[in-house]
Symmetry: none
Subunit: 206 residues, 4 copies
DNA sequence: CATGAATGAGTTTTCATTCAT
DNA sequence: GATGAATGAAAACTCATTCAT
């Protein structure tokens, strides 16, 4: 059964087992890495559990030992990445509190852009395919964090607008998903234009 | 192999037989409508040819009579929609030539927004899943048309910037794909903010 | 598309996974046996993967676990048989070197006849249906081996004629494919006549 | 349902309708020609009724108007060819009566070889695929005619041997089915060797 | 923990044949 | 007679998941 952006419900809830020994932790890491590269290369649906296991140099049985379903695997992957990003955003809080919205936006641009460049599968899993329900949860958390960042700007932004920016800025990053199309402006040029556009907007008072 | 955003190539070439009788033309229309609704509900991968045929009240054989593969079906659907949008953009040419870039952007917002609201499956097929190669072709054409629109602005925009706007404005519309998430600002509010941001940007000289 | 003696080419390359456990090796053997009997009973095209699996007491998934396509299954089968025959021919080399062409032909008759009687599906797969390209490869190897046998005759045969005999003698065996037709002379009677004809021919100097 | 050399039984017996008008006769001829070329190119199973109709420039409905099933189409084709060959063999009767068996064999070689060169699909349908039952009937008739030819040789051949030759000589012609394999002696060279072999055999008293 | 064999429901696709116009 | 739309059973093949060793 293929359920890409499917809205299925009654799920298996047994969470991914946490490995106790070092060997196990390494295995889990290599499985997650294999999943990331496979999802990225083929897309969520076309990636098969068998190939993921193969890429990790593990057996299919081993894969299922740690991740009870394909969805759970994708969730784990996204969770890990989301946690890492969350940490970075958290770290920005202190650094950006009291600065201008434009400055915050700028810093956010850099943070998100760097993160996605290093973890492109994050964009895929949070924005495009996989378990819709889970993606919403993760997006909501990210939205909250980013809105928080903007909420601490000086001069202050309305809560509403902080919310909107928390949707808009990540959405700007999704532009990265359009891979090198011939004849199209480069991703960097586009991002710079968006960055400028946003700065001006915020400097004009939002 | 299920290839959502797969990068496969070698295709089956038996062309979609075009219907010659009225009955056939009606069938094709209802099949396309069923495909649109099914893709939208389930996503490209999870939508099955069987269900599409069922929704159209046709047999699976009938579906394959006119569309030799699932990909061909998606292509037909996207082609039709892209043609319609193309027509609308063409029509805008006369109406917007000589106007300000901001005004053109505004009109484009309305046109794209209206089109996508009426044909949400367009966003899915052109931006998210299906046949990557084909999507690029269709996007390239749209980019060309929109760049053309901006190129005729008065005062004039640089060709480069027109190109960038031709990527940016449609990308803004993709925001629509995030369906009603609880706690998130409404799609309309976001779009209005983006519209304002863009207008200011263009009025400040791009 | 069903391609019996079809001339198609581009193939799926996921190799037949070789079994690593005893259980798997037994499965593969029973699957090959089922395939042989099924091909023989129904012909290559009419034999279905489902029925082959059933005859082997396996599930369709098991069949595809070891043989990724119907063609690969037929190839494996033919390869195995060709290897066995190849071994027998190799063994004849020592035994026949230096003997007369007629004696070699006689021995070859016996060897081929015995082999085909024990493995009738060999004739089907090498001469009649299945993957044309592969069949040619296998036939070419057999031709080389048989020509080799004749090339060592005493008094010597020309290389050209050895080549021709290497086509002719196996072709004589194909007669076996005409199964018991009422009113027709028996296969054995025909083969004996052909054997005599060939011996005389060779004794007359080829 | 694919039934290549299948042994199916309960058949539809409505014979191919004989067209009354000239237009109809032309259509039938072009359908048969299309079938011949299609069977030859793709093999019996892989040839589709739709493609045959297309090649004849007719609609699928038209094809079924004259030939109620695919089998009936193949039968018609084979029947026609068999009838033509039968005529030629009949004509040989007078010309060869009283001549030596070797001379008759020689003449037969030429006749069969010429016929098959002109109608290669005959070999396919009588020897390889299609309706097994029907093929046996046609082969039996051919066997009878050829045995008849040899039975009138002078000095006389035994009835048994005439029967055997009636199997052997057509079988020699089947060699033509191995199409141009690289490294293999030419079909002509092989046929000449077989012809010589047979002549010697018959001259030595069979 | 590890492994890889086993499963079978589900998917895309094909094609001989029928039938309404 | 012609046509082409319609049908649906059946085929090849996939893959998430389970389980015995």
């Amino acid at each position: 059964m293929k359920m890409s952006s499917g809205k299925a419900s009654s799920e298996k809830q047994r969470a991914a087992r946490l490995p106790q020994r070092k060997r196990g932790r390494e295995r889990v890491a290599s499985l997650l890495a294999a999943a990331a590269s496979c999802f990225l290369d083929k897309g969520y649906d076309a990636a098969t559990m068998t190939e993921i296991a193969e890429r990790a140099g593990a057996s299919i049985g081993s894969l299922y030992l740690f991740f009870p379903t394909k969805q759970a695997l994708a969730r784990s992957l996204l969770s890990n990445l989301a946690d890492e990003l969350s940490g970075r955003l958290e770290a920005m809080k202190a650094a950006t509190a009291g600065r201008s919205a434009a400055a915050i936006a700028d810093a956010l641009f850099d943070a998100l852009n760097g993160f996605i460049a290093a973890n492109p599968v994050y964009s895929l899993l949070i924005d495009v395919t996989g378990d819709e329900r889970w993606r919403q949860v993760v997006r909501a958390q990210r939205r909250r964090q980013i809105a928080d960042l903007f909420a601490r700007a000086e001069p202050p932004l309305g809560a509403r607008q902080a919310q909107r920016l928390a949707v808009i800025v990540p959405h700007f990053m999704r532009i990265s998903l359009l891979q090198g199309e011939a004849g199209s402006p480069s991703r960097e040029a586009i991002l710079e234009e968006l960055r400028l556009m946003l700065r001006r907007h915020l400097e004009s008072g939002g």
